[in-house]
């Protein structure tokens, strides 16, 4: 049937993540953006929510929860409502863990999964995006050439979360040029591998609290067993579907934070003898924001539900993500507008949310659900 009500368990998860976002994250978000760093205790507390550990099967020390993209988008929304950089920092390890769970060989699962359930956040990540204006998931220019019992990787990656501290990178590369998603495979590259250069901390428009780096791969050789899934490989399209769903969920969270803030501000700020929210121009902007947030959320949920049913969701996840990116930008921009001059000042959070929001159009490969 058609049903829009989360399960009791999902409600509980959502509430605990929301409480963390409200109490531990939001109060520190602005300083984190200014300082370019997230306080350790914010991450430690968030790690205790078990969002990555829950995905790890019990055999490897995790909670072994059944994977649910819907639950993932609910979590993504609540974390991003607190702060997008914190959300991505906290969940970046899943960028490596989840594909290992889904596609890893027994050997790869043994090797990597236990690392996520020991003590605190284990820094691992994935590298998808490339620093080119014509970056294309279906046309990666990072390539992997087979030979010498292994693979040789070359190319450049950017916006790699936790890159400064990650011990292992799951690098996606095309095994043949211009052959779409199906040509893409994942390769585990450890820090220190010859041919892998980890760049300086990137300077981005938003996500300033998030450690992201560029990677350069130049004749970087990895053994055959480092190919994700070894002989069987992986389903890159599906991993990217999960990324699109995650991004839609994150976008809804960022948009909601901007909308809530602007709505509250508009009710308090007075001009011409009344609250500015009492003018239709402002009230209608807020009404449109509310509608658009709900609209994107429903599309994301439907795509996530189909994903959980095992259906292919390239179309649904792609359309949801495109809409989410447009929507979050528009909502954040309107939030700045509602705050007028104050919206432009870094004492208020809305300009940060606008800087974060613009990235969604280009973000790919952040499969944190």
């Amino acid at each position: 049937m058609i049903d829009f009500t989360p399960t009791e368990e999902q409600r509980m998860i959502r509430e605990s993540v929301a409480a963390y976002a409200r109490d531990a994250v939001r109060p520190r978000a602005r300083d984190a953006d200014e300082d370019g760093t997230i306080p350790g205790e914010v991450i430690d507390t968030g790690w205790e929510l078990g969002l990555v550990q829950s995905a790890i099967p019990e055999a490897y020390g995790g909670f072994g929860s059944q994977r649910s993209a819907i639950t993932g988008t609910l979590v993504a929304e609540e974390l991003a409502y607190g702060d997008l950089a914190v959300a991505l920092h906290l969940l970046a390890p899943r960028l490596l863990a989840q594909p290992v769970i889904d596609y890893g060989s027994a050997r790869q699962k043994e090797r990597y999964l236990p690392r996520f359930t020991h003590n605190g956040l284990y820094p691992a990540t994935a590298a998808v995006m490339e620093p080119r204006i014509d970056f294309d998931l279906a046309g990666l220019t990072t390539v992997a050439r087979k030979g010498g019992g292994g693979w040789t990787l070359s190319g450049r990656k950017c916006l790699v979360p936790l890159g400064s501290r990650a011990e292992t990178f799951l690098v996606y590369a095309a095994t043949e040029r211009s052959s779409g998603y199906s040509a893409v495979e994942g390769f585990f590259v450890d820090r220190g591998t010859p041919g892998l250069s980890i760049g300086e901390r990137e300077r981005n428009m938003g996500l300033r609290a998030l450690d992201t780096v560029e990677l350069t791969l130049d004749g970087c050789q990895v053994p055959g067993e480092n190919r994700l899934g070894e002989e069987t490989g992986c389903d890159f399209e599906r991993i990217m579907d999960a990324s699109r769903l995650a991004l839609a969920g994150l976008a809804v969270g960022v948009a909601r934070s901007a909308y809530d803030y602007a709505r509250q501000y508009a009710k308090e700020r007075r001009a011409f003898g009344r609250a500015i929210a009492q003018n239709q121009a402002i009230a209608f902007m807020l009404a449109e924001m509310a509608i658009e947030i709900d609209a994107v959320r429903l599309l994301a949920w439907e795509a996530a539900w189909k994903f959980d049913q095992g259906e292919r969701v390239l179309r649904e996840s792609y359309l949801a993500k495109r809409y989410a990116a447009d929507m979050v930008l528009k909502v954040a921009d309107n939030a700045v507008q509602v705050l007028g001059g104050h919206g432009y000042i870094r004492d208020y959070p809305v300009e940060m949310w606008l800087r974060n929001a613009r990235g969604f159009a280009s973000f790919e490969g952040l499969a944190i659900v």
């Binding site: 058609i2 049903d3 179309r315 359309l319």
Partner: protein, 414 residues
């Protein structure tokens, strides 16, 4: 739990309705758009015989709510409103004007169902299960007031065991058929006490053919031409005292008025659904035409590499489906017995805007062919536009949403 699968009952209804839309409505679509004031009687009679099995108010079954959960694997929960949205979308995909011309209890019947006594429901609604085709209509709008329904001037004065109605109504959908051409009725909003404002506004049932009610005009419209839109004039129109819906008392508050307005919470999702059907017709057609050539929709391609037309079509698909999910949400809330005033207005505001954009863009994308009356797309653009206007204009629905999200009254946000 969150789920997006239509039950087999609703899915089957959709399939059947789609066959009606394609097989019975599309072939006569253009004809009844061109011949505006003629009625498609063959279609009407066929739909009447079908609808007598599914009257407003539901069959007298266990739940009495018209739910069709017969199969073991179907949910127990009522799906009446969701099912109607799905059905209405298919009928409107066929032809929105023809859909509105289907004989049924309509808005008038919905009001009786919502606010009438059991005796009134029997007296006015049983007729839809037998005999010749009938229509019921709702008359609210007047020459001087549309959105501001609290400003209506039509009066109802008590005289012995009667009410006497005086006034003029315009833009009454199916008004001709309900007031004059069938044994139907019109639900007329009138005030029993102008000084009381909203609190004085009541709904009255006027049977077809009642002396003093006269159809004075049938409009010529941009679209939905198969549907008759009538002006009704009431001149000392005498109706029984028992034809008032609800209580005759003028309360201190406007609770009664709010009660009738609440009917809109149920009808707004249906109008949104109808709009979505029209837009889907246009979108389906455009995609089919484009795909006859070299065109393909490359989902997954980096967005900056999409062609302009790919981008347009993807936007249309996305927006239309978003409107559909918002509509289903509003309908599902009704089925779950939840208050859906905010969600119904969100759905209507979004749908009205989206279908206008989608159908207008569809004509554009078809070049000169889109402009020709040999092609139904120009008709769908004309049919779509009304959905952003009736049952609450987009601006009024945005105002409803705004007041709700801000917690403002009418006075605080005029």
């Amino acid at each position: 739990m969150i789920e997006f699968k239509l039950s087999s009952a609703v899915a089957r209804m959709r399939q059947i309705t789609h066959a009606v839309a394609e097989g019975m409505m599309r072939p006569i679509s253009r004809e009844f758009d061109e011949r505006e004031h003629e009625k498609p009687w063959d279609f009407i009679r066929t739909m009447w015989s079908v609808s007598k099995d599914n009257p407003v108010g539901g069959k007298r079954g266990k739940s009495g709510n018209g739910a069709a959960a017969e199969e073991a694997d179907d949910p127990v929960r009522n799906e009446r409103n969701l099912g109607m949205c799905v059905t209405v979308e298919e009928l409107s995909w066929g032809d929105a004007g023809l859909y509105l011309s289907i004989p049924n209890a309509g808005l008038g019947g919905a009001a009786v169902n919502a606010a009438g006594t059991p005796e009134q429901r029997q007296r006015f609604l049983d007729r839809f299960k037998e005999g010749d085709p009938k229509w019921a209509a709702m008359a609210i709008t007047e020459p001087g007031c549309g959105s501001d329904s609290a400003a209506i001037q039509t009066t109802a004065v008590r005289d012995g065991d009667s009410w006497i109605l005086n006034g003029e109504k315009i833009f009454c959908t199916s008004g001709l058929m309900a007031a004059q051409e069938s044994k139907g009725f019109v639900v007329v909003w009138a005030t029993v006490d102008k000084s009381a404002g909203r609190a004085g506004i009541k709904a009255f049932i006027v049977e077809a053919g009642t002396p003093g009610m006269k159809v004075t005009k049938v409009e010529k419209k941009l679209g939905i031409r198969a549907s008759d839109t009538a002006s009704l004039v009431f001149t000392d129109c005498r109706i029984p005292l028992t034809n008032i819906l609800g209580s005759a008392e003028v309360p201190k508050t406007s609770e009664g008025f709010k009660g009738v307005m609440a009917t809109f919470d149920a009808t707004r999702p249906l109008v949104a659904a109808s709009a979505i059907g029209v837009a889907r017709a246009a979108l389906d057609f455009v995609k089919d035409e484009l795909c006859k050539g070299e065109f393909s929709l490359r989902y997954g391609v980096t967005p900056t590499k999409l062609s302009a037309i790919e981008r347009d079509i993807m936007d249309m698909e996305t927006q239309l489906h978003a409107a559909r999910l918002l509509t289903w949400r509003a309908a599902t809330m009704l089925d779950e017995g939840q208050h859906n005033n905010l969600e119904a207005s969100m759905a209507k505001a979004k749908a009205g805007l989206v279908v206008t954009q989608v159908t207008q863009k569809a004509v554009e994308l078809l070049g000169p062919v889109g402009y020709s009356r040999n092609c139904l797309v120009e008709k769908w653009m004309r049919d779509a536009k009304i959905n952003d206007i009736f049952e609450g204009t987009q601006q009024i629905n945005m105002l409803v949403v705004a007041r709700r999200i801000l917690g403002y009254s009418r006075q605080e946000l005029p």
